[in-house]
């Protein structure tokens, strides 16, 4: 494996982690949006506060890593993406600011009205942001970002593949978050909530599966290079993702959400990994390969060293935080002390 390939692999690992952790985070916002009025939705919203409160900022650092890896490892690809896909990036940025700030403000809301206003901002921004991020992925994967100059700024994100990827991103985030929240509710012993979330998550899973099936002809016609990869090198990953998605549904249906959440996260990770494998060796599909786009070797080596450092310095405390959050030793469900 060449140095640029290694950097691309690490970068894509960050994309996968962002899809799982950031995705669960965005998806929680969708459940917040659909939880109902203040009284009816209160248990769900408290559960969401509890589930993502301690971890949401950390969940979004993966995105920063992806961007830094892109501009350091593949500077020309980064500036090409930013030139051509500027509009969905601005919209996603707006969504990230709105949902993060509103979520933080809601936690310490002085009044119910405040909580409702900030809650609606948080939840609706959570719904649309993964869509915009998905359209960015679709623009790159369907070969609409030229290596030099600026592509068609509208068509680059308003095209069949982008719209599919946007809808799929939102649906996947929602489904994943639904499974995680169901598991959380079960662990905390809120049985009414478990039943409700389980039912809704199953519906969400069915919708996600339908989107995937509907997407196959779209990809075949609109993104031949990606489709070739998905049916070729990436087929095991794509098939594995589908299988994991089905197992998630089965486990959820049988009332084992703790198991379902692991398979659900696996399904998301595999589908994103499948995209990466299908797209390789292109960093901008049909336009620029990983090795062509690679920046200076010293910078790439620096990135790999930094990734090693991150693995040692960041992963253990991250796992500690996630374990604490999961074991209820941090969070807001008991006493907000």
């Amino acid at each position: 494996m060449s140095v640029p390939d290694a950097v691309a692999a690490v970068m894509f690992a960050a994309v996968i982690l962002y899809s799982v952790f950031g995705g669960a985070d965005f998806g929680s916002g969708v459940w917040d949006l659909t939880a109902g009025n203040a009284r009816k939705g209160a248990p769900t919203r408290r559960l969401i506060d509890h589930a993502i409160g301690p971890v949401w900022e950390a969940n979004h650092v993966w995105l920063i890593f992806v961007l830094v890896f892109l501009w350091t490892g593949f500077p020309s690809a980064f500036s090409a993406i930013m030139r051509t896909l500027a509009i969905p990036f601005w919209l996603a940025g707006l969504g990230i600011v709105a949902r993060g700030a509103a979520f933080a403000f809601r936690k310490y809301s002085p009044t119910l009205r405040w909580a409702q206003v900030t809650g609606v901002i948080f939840a609706s921004a959570s719904l649309v942001t993964p869509f915009f991020l998905g359209t960015i992925a679709g623009g790159i994967a369907s070969g609409r970002v030229p290596a030099t100059g600026t592509g068609d700024k509208q068509e680059a994100w308003l095209n069949p593949t982008s719209l599919l990827a946007g809808v799929l991103a939102t649906a996947t985030c929602t489904y994943l978050a639904g499974v995680l929240l169901t598991a959380d509710a079960e662990r905390l012993g809120y049985h009414d909530l478990v039943a409700e979330l389980r039912r809704k998550s199953l519906i969400g899973g069915a919708i996600t599966g339908a989107v995937v099936l509907a997407g196959i002809p779209i990809l075949l016609t609109d993104s031949p290079t990606l489709a070739d990869g998905l049916l070729g090198r990436a087929l095991p990953l794509a098939a594995g993702s589908g299988l994991a998605g089905v197992i998630t549904m089965v486990e959820l249906y049988r009332g084992r959400p703790r198991r379902a959440r692991i398979v659900a996260a696996l399904a998301v990770a595999l589908v994103v990994a499948g995209w990466g494998a299908a797209q390789y060796p292109w960093v901008l599909v049909d336009q620029l390969t990983v090795s062509e786009a690679a920046g200076a070797n010293a910078a790439l080596v620096g990135l790999l060293v930094a990734s090693g450092l991150a693995a040692v310095l960041v992963l253990p405390p991250l796992i500690y935080l996630l374990t604490l959050a999961d074991s209820n030793r941090v969070g807001t469900a008991t006493v907000d002390g």
């Binding site: 209160a42 919203r45 408290r46 506060d49 971890v55 900022e57 950390a58 979004h60 650092v61 995105l63 920063i64 961007l67 830094v68 501009w71 350091t72 490892g73 500077p75 980064f78 500036s79 930013m82 601005w90 707006l94 600011v97 993060g100 700030a101 509103a102 933080a104 403000f105 809601r106 936690k107 310490y108 002085p110 009044t111 119910l112 009205r113 405040w114 909580a115 600026t150 200076a296 010293a298 910078a299 620096g302 990135l303 930094a306 450092l309 991150a310 310095l313 960041v314 405390p317 991250l318 500690y320 935080l321 604490l324 030793r329 941090v330 969070g331 469900a333 008991t334 006493v335 002390g337």
Partner: protein, 488 residues
């Protein structure tokens, strides 16, 4: 090699349409983020002092640490999202910079990312760990937050310092006839000649912004007659930090200025308003730049004082603006005015610390009772923020027309997008809303603390338990009725 690059890159072009809105947007989003970033850099250390004091049996200190950590969580959240926007903007507003130099400065950003991650993780553990983690262990969670704040800000400052003192690469002509950075040395780029002084200057500024802002809040409380120990301790701890930082700041600033004399003399000339290259130059203070010369400044009647301050030699030549063509000069009026404000406020804050020291020696209680002193402290918070912002305006505008000093013009880095006025407008509206939201939330937190609440239950209630959940919801409805004044 650099000389050739200069020739190739300095062809004067008309400014692209996006230049003004892009620079304005970058200035606003950075200027806004820096304030909250200061709290990430400097506040954890103050909280740590209180937390440790609290573990030694001081309940008020412990309560203050808890409150400050909750405010810090709110500030960290809006800092995280505004920081994310900055990473977007690097590419969306300045694609030319990132295309050419993304790999030169990338390592610093990667290390900053790791620091930010560490900060986010440990802040999550710390803020949500109250009452759940073993007490001493819990307080130690602040140490990685402090370390990450230092390392992360160092890395970001390093990139900015690199823009002032670009190094860590050679410019070589490629096959297409363009000058491209080659032989890249990312560590040399990080540890460029400007980084240490710029970082020290910024770190001290962060301590001053946070310390004076926090002191201002408690000074206001004391003036309103809240003479309890919470207010005294809050004031004392924040004041102790700025008492150390404030007197050191002018010294660091002085050496940073000497680096400018050496490496960016035109920026220094713009700051001082020196039109012509002068031997044994005198120092002029204040005044304003009318486009050609400094008007209304006070000249210090010591021959060679500016030369001495710039180079340690009274007879030295100080380079003036006339040393370069007009299209290589920054907007002097902006730079000189911003610089003058920064120096003025910085000097006043040193005086304020001297005043505090004098009161402290005479009678400790006077710190909490002297009305003129407390009012001065109230003013010191916004003043410190203004000094930091004008300092950033000085260094950023002073670097113009270059985005990378001597190598790349800002006009060559900016996006060709036609709609940046729109994103700028949206950003102003959103950030104004975020500012108002943060102020409203923090004020309401402080109000509820004063009313004796400790938990700050959200209106959705802290507990999923049916009974208590119901109760907190009812309470929230009641409080919504009770407090119409603070509804948005």
């Amino acid at each position: 090699m650099v000389g050739v690059a200069n020739l190739l890159n300095t062809t004067a072009t008309t400014a692209p349409d996006a230049l003004l809105p892009a620079r304005t947007q970058m200035a606003i989003s950075l200027g806004w983020h820096i304030i909250v970033a200061c709290f990430g850099m400097a506040w954890p250390a103050m909280i740590f002092v209180l937390h440790r004091k609290g573990l030694n049996g001081d309940d008020v200190a412990l309560e203050l640490a808890k409150r400050w950590s909750k405010v810090a969580a709110v500030l960290f959240a809006i800092g995280a999202v505004s920081g994310t926007i900055l990473s977007f903007e690097l590419g969306l507003l300045w694609p030319g910079l990132m295309d050419a130099y993304g790999d030169v400065v990338g390592l610093a950003f990667a290390l900053e990312g790791i620091s930010f991650f560490t900060e986010a993780i440990f802040l999550g553990i710390y803020v949500y760990g109250w009452g759940r983690l073993p007490a001493r262990w819990h307080s130690l969670m602040l140490l990685p937050i402090m370390a990450a704040g230092v390392v992360g800000s160092f890395m970001v400052i390093s990139v900015n310092a690199w823009m002032n003192a670009p190094t860590g690469f050679d410019l070589v002509m490629n096959d297409a006839g363009q000058m491209v950075p080659t032989n890249i040395d990312p560590l040399a780029a990080i540890f460029n000649s400007a980084v240490w002084l710029q970082f020290a200057h910024m770190y001290l500024a962060a301590v001053m912004v946070v310390g004076f802002s926090v002191a201002a809040v408690y000074a206001m409380g004391l003036l309103k007659g809240r003479r309890d120990r919470v207010h005294q301790l809050g004031l004392l701890v924040s004041l102790a930090f700025v008492a150390v930082a404030t007197p050191i700041q002018p010294v660091v600033g002085h050496f940073a200025g000497q680096r400018l004399a050496d490496e960016q003399p035109i920026k220094l000339a713009a700051m001082e308003g020196l039109a012509e290259t002068t031997d044994a130059a005198r120092l002029e203070v204040g005044g304003y730049w009318n486009g050609e010369e400094l008007v209304g400044a006070i000249e210090i009647p010591v021959d060679g004082l500016l030369s001495f301050l710039s180079t340690n030699d009274f007879d030295a030549t100080v380079i003036g603006l006339d040393a370069v063509d007009p299209d290589e000069r920054p907007p002097v009026a902006v730079v000189h005015t911003a610089y003058t404000i920064m120096i003025g406020i910085g000097s006043a804050l040193v005086g304020l610390i001297a005043w505090a020291g004098w009161l402290w020696r005479r009678n400790r209680d006077a710190l909490f009772t002297s009305k003129p002193f407390l009012w001065a402290l109230v003013a010191s918070g916004p003043a410190a923020v203004l000094a930091m912002e004008t300092g950033w305006v000085t260094t950023e505008v002073g670097r113009q027309p270059w985005i990378v000093h001597g190598l790349m013009r800002t006009t060559d880095a900016v996006t060709d997008a036609s709609y940046i006025w729109i994103t700028l407008t949206v950003l102003v509206v959103v950030y104004a809303g975020m500012t108002a939201g943060a102020i409203a939330v923090i004020r309401s937190m402080s109000k509820r603390w004063r009313e004796g609440e400790t938990d700050l239950a959200s209106p959705y209630g802290p507990s999923l338990d049916e009974r208590s959940g119901h109760r907190s919801e009812v309470k929230a409805v009641v409080s919504a009725v009770d407090r119409p004044g603070i509804q948005p």
